[in-house]
């Protein structure tokens, strides 16, 4: 990545970014109670005395959430340590106890690193567990708390398990920040702990942004940017904030340490809370929970259950494909995200055409990821073979694959049922001859060397055969008839 600097009148400035990523865990139930952890249900239907913080209720830690948190820590190369929970005290209507149970000075996962695509290592300070809050909707006004007529609170999200991953201030450009989040997202999805959906809020990013002269080794005063709901927002907000700070400093001003809100529509950040207004969270050990010190055997179980991480899987795919290009990179990202890379690698190992396997996996199989992960590589290979040999056209192969994924069966049988009989070569020959006869002018131009007409003739043949012909074979047949 080329070096990102901001030119000021007095010289060049460097950007320093650290990210805090909140990841909702894909547990069946909430962190401290048995309520379902589901997105999008009717408000206040997945609640109980515990996640409503009713008087007298007590938290009981969800074992599966701890396992997912340990999986995340392991995937990020963290040390998994004996840990404890604290209460973070502040008043907010969507937080039913008016404190959040979180890990403070003894987080579960400490240290670690995430390596960006270009090899840059980004330090991970910690990845700790905490509970999510409910969700407030402000009615009337512009949808923000000030000027609203009233507010509605949905506690379905209250108590949903989160892992907060805190990076070191190692990121030096908006693009690096994007690259960090997208790699982290891939890792979280690969551990099975997250669905990685930023737009649904299951992955939320806060950015700590500061600037300093390129010659400086001291950190500048940072601002924390909130409300970054997409990678695009993240990149724009960091870039905007960096320029804002440089402008301030160039004018002889100073940056105030504060929390700032990103407005996607206006494309700017604005002050939410100054340092003076910052909450004093009055952290103290949560007396309702006992310390969490996962025994070595438990951790070993979690580590053993963890598959390969995206970087290794990309390498494995590239090796199987034997080549790499921009187009393939996107397909690689898709199949890894959906966990289809195992299918791709094993199908290629059966001798199937690697480019075709990759294309069908990333495009068509990706529409039915759950079924695709269960797909037998032998059968998938068989289908790819039928397409590669020209027995099935691309259109036919896609239809067979869709059927294979939704109803199961064997590719050959499905092709039969769908009436996809490969055209016998004499039948295809007859159609081609008929097309030539019916279009003498075009044929003559083609014979005369006008290759642009080839597409016209090919189209005619395909229409006559109702898509049953293999385009590549038709082109070859036309070429051979031209002599």
């Amino acid at each position: 990545m080329s070096k990102y600097t901001i030119a000021g009148e007095s010289g060049e400035w460097e950007l320093v970014v650290g990210l805090e990523v909140h990841c909702e865990l894909l547990t069946k139930t909430k962190l401290f109670c048995g309520c379902p952890n589901v997105f999008g249900d009717e408000p206040n239907t997945n609640v109980c005395p515990v996640c409503l913080g009713l008087p007298g209720s007590l938290p009981v830690l969800n074992r599966r959430a701890v396992e997912m948190a340990m999986a995340i820590g392991t995937a990020l190369g963290c040390e998994i340590r004996p840990s404890s929970f604290h209460r973070k005290n502040y008043f907010y209507p969507d937080m039913p106890k008016d404190y959040q149970v979180t890990q403070y000075d003894e987080p579960l996962n400490v240290g670690g690193a995430l390596v960006l695509g270009d090899g840059t290592p980004i330090g991970i300070v910690r990845a700790h567990m905490e509970e999510d809050t409910g969700k407030t909707t402000h009615m009337g006004g512009d949808g923000r708390i000030h000027g609203a007529d009233y507010s509605l609170v949905d506690y379905n999200r209250s108590g949903v398990p989160l892992v907060e991953i805190v990076s070191a201030p190692d990121l030096r450009s908006p693009e690096e920040a994007r690259s960090y989040v997208s790699e982290l997202r891939a890792i979280l999805v690969a551990t099975g702990a997250s669905d990685g959906r930023m737009e649904e809020g299951s992955l939320r990013v806060d950015a700590n942004v500061s600037v300093r002269r390129v010659t400086s080794h001291e950190f500048g005063t940072r601002c924390e940017i909130k409300n970054l709901n997409s990678l695009r927002s993240l990149v724009r907000a960091i870039d905007y904030e960096a320029r804002r700070q440089v402008e301030l400093l160039e004018e002889g001003g100073s940056v105030d340490q504060e929390t700032r809100h990103w407005n996607e529509l206006e494309g700017r950040t604005s002050s939410m809370r100054s340092k003076e207004e910052a909450y004093d969270y009055r952290y103290f050990p949560e007396p309702d929970l006992v310390p969490l010190a996962p025994p070595a055997e438990w951790l070993a179980e979690v580590v053993a259950g963890l598959g390969l991480m995206p970087a290794d899987r990309r390498e494995r795919l590239a090796l199987a494909l034997g080549e790499s290009s921009e187009a393939i990179e996107e397909q690689i990202a898709t199949v890894i995200d959906l966990g289809l890379d195992d299918l791709v690698v094993t199908t290629i190992a059966t001798g199937a055409d690697s480019r075709l396997v990759m294309a069908r996996a990333a495009n068509e199989a990706a529409q039915h990821p759950d079924a695709a992960r269960q797909l037998d590589p032998e059968r998938f290979g068989e289908l790819i073979g039928l397409e590669a040999s020209g027995t099935l056209s691309a259109t036919q192969a896609k239809a067979v694959l869709a059927e294979l994924l939704t109803s199961g069966g064997h590719p050959v049988d499905i092709a039969d049922q769908l009436g996809f009989k490969a055209l016998a070569s004499d039948e295809l020959g007859a159609v081609i001859d008929a097309v030539i006869t019916a279009n003498p002018g075009e044929w003559e131009r083609y014979v005369g060397g006008d290759d642009k007409v080839a597409q016209f003739l090919l189209g005619k043949v395909m229409r006559e055969t109702k898509g049953r012909a293999n385009g590549k074979l038709v082109a070859e047949a036309l070429a051979s008839r031209r002599g």
């Binding site: 005395p49 008087p55 007298g56 209720s57 009981v60 005290n89 309702d288 006992v290």
Partner: protein
Amino acid sequence: MSETEAFAGGALQIAARVRSGELSARAVTEAALEEIAASEPLLHCFNTITAELALAGADAVDAKVLAGEDPGPLAGVPIALKDNLCTKGVPTTCSSRILQGWRPPYDATVVARLSAAGAVSVGKTNLDEFAMGSSTETSATGPTRNPWDPSRVPGGSSGGSAAAVAAGLVPLALGSDTGGSIRQPAALCGVVGLKPTYGLVSRYGLVAFASSLDQIGPFALTLADAAMTLQVIAGHDERDSTSLTHPVADFATELKRGVEGLRVGVVADFLSEASGSCAAAVRQAADALADAGALVREVAIPELLHGLSAYYLIAPAEASSNLARYDGVRYGLRVDGDDVQAMNARTRSAGFGDEVKRRIMLGTYVLSAGYYDAYYAQAQRVRTVILQSFARAYEDCDVLLAPTTPSVAFPIGAKTADPLEMYLSDLFTIPTNLAGHPALSVPFALGEDGLPVGVQVLAPALGEGQMLRAGAALEAVAAPGARGPVRPQLGGPMAGVAK
């Protein structure tokens, strides 16, 4: 049937008679409800009386007896519940305006266990607001009066429960003990009060005051009744992460084991801090145990006297957080304001009484940035020192003997103007809570003005067995008339005083 007749022999006797079909649970419940109603204008033990639910519960017990099913070890025994225990559909107020109108959608684990054992809950008893107090005077519903002398406090915070048992309104009651809130009122009311090992009884459904110190326990007229109640409510609960998983001892057996060879330490440091009758009762108790075959010696544990200071940092700190949720958003009182912060502030200003506000402010302060180490962290270090000094004492002792309170019941209003004076009421009970140990108060003597005096038996964690052995020996030789039930002096100076 008169109540005296129905209650003869205490809870175990009632249960035995109900189980045999000799006595109906309904008759017992009706008798209790009648007494409660009659006593309420003078004593005010109850915030809520659940007559209909109680009678329905009693009928269910009787139906089981009739059907030949096991109605449980506490079949038909009326029990009063401190009003900080959640009861499904029944107001649970913590004697605070801020919870007005709130009906929990669930039963506390102890409430469910008692009900399953056949006990019949007759109502919710008065307490100091959110259990913060030592006299039941900080209650938003007005003070409870001591049945021995209605011009005096019953102690607190579980004053309603202690007074209800002392007045013979119910044979059993539950309280909660954060710094002495079961043992201190038990002593001032002449009844048995038992605070179990932290984690022995589930806290699920107990409205939290200070989570690391709170523990639920029974009041009764006899140790045998208290032990049976503890047997019913003790044991692991998966809803409480701090609930212990150890097997629960058989307390009835322990009660009968005697004190031959039991090593008893008299906490010398407390005797000099107690009034004449309270100190004298401990010395008499020590002699009695020695006579019964125990090995009695004096022990010096001066560190325990620092418990009070540590407690008044740790308990308010936890309380400031536990009570944050009463913000007017979801339940209880709401006083509207221009924005949510104003609503929070106005609701809390109107909903909490002075003592609760004092402790929230204190707790908020000691947890604040810059003060945490000097106060909260320091208090936790003192807590560790207390644990260590107890551990040293228990190397040579099976139980410790101490006064429960520095004095007998004091007049209503005597200490309300001086919070620090009030806090001293718990000087001898607090160290136990900081250590998470069990302790009980046995009514043992009559002191100044003919008022009851309790003696406290302390034991190490899960030492309920040896604690009950010593307690039983004391109960056997206690002064006649030192324990309830007593009839409130209706014709006395307090006659006609409205609550």
